[in-house]
Symmetry: C2
Subunit: 163 residues, 2 copies
């Protein structure tokens, strides 16, 4: 009988509440707001970006808590952290239907422009799945995500250096 009650309780609220519970952390107001911000964007946000938006929704929230929440979400596998040489990290929800599709990056080492590309995902998927399985097995990792980035020089910079 209590089992039913528990199931009902677990069923309430947004999907991430259970994830928090399973991970052994509390669902709190600031964490809800950070999730809200992440769910409501299509961009890769920095911690500061998230802070600004969260702060609009609830001025009581501090930057420190944003950082702490992001770290928890990262460990839970709910967000992905990107780090492409900007000197700051960017975060994005994984599997958020609202958010961008799965994609990777093309970075110009000269002007630091970052191009998101969505191409060739099918071929990638096959390669990634195979590699991931083998790595998981060999290194006993539970792999949740991956990042592929290409580095080079964009056309504009190439032109410039030919002058």
């Amino acid at each position: 009988m209590w089992r039913v009650l528990i199931l009902r309780r677990r069923g309430r609220g947004p999907w991430w509440h259970n994830r928090f519970e399973d991970f052994g952390v509390r669902v709190t107001e600031p964490r809800e707001v950070v999730m809200e911000v992440l769910l409501d964007t299509e961009e890769h946000l920095t911690a500061a970006d998230i802070y600004v938006r969260a702060h609009e929704l609830n001025p009581a929230i501090g930057l420190t808590t944003v950082y702490r929440t992001l770290d928890i979400l990262l460990q839970m596998g709910i967000v992905q952290k990107f780090d492409f040489g900007e000197g700051k990290a960017r975060y994005e929800l994984i599997n958020n239907s609202q958010s961008k599709e799965h994609h990777h990056h093309l970075v110009c080492v000269q002007c630091k422009t970052i191009v998101d590309y969505y191409d060739f995902v099918d071929e990638e998927l096959e390669f990634i799945r195979k590699t991931q399985d083998r790595l998981s097995d060999k290194y006993r990792f539970h792999i949740m995500d991956h990042v592929i980035s290409f580095y080079g020089i964009c056309e504009k910079c190439r032109m410039k250096s030919q002058e």
Copy 2:
């Protein structure tokens, strides 16, 4: 006649001297030392690591110059910059026979451990070459390098969270 002289001059010294010249920057003592350090290691060094070693070879060299030199080397496509969530970048010569073989990373989002893996490079190569060609073409990038990182939870952390 002077053409021969110029060719001779270009032929002198280590290979990177011409690269510097072509890129329009001078070959200087501090830059030589940074190159020396990079050529002589198999690790991914941080700017601070490089500074310490360069400083041993020539105490006149400053950290600022190390940063500046690394940025130039990056733009020239001589070094690769890695950025895996440590809060600092790591640098490694590209195509340095001394240096580590081509490899990628497995990052534990919980304990932040980074595992280098060298496996499955052949399958990767095929996938990468194909993708790279198509991206170069479509986005008009001259692609010089790529990074693949997998994120997950290592066995140790998985055990810990099951307690």
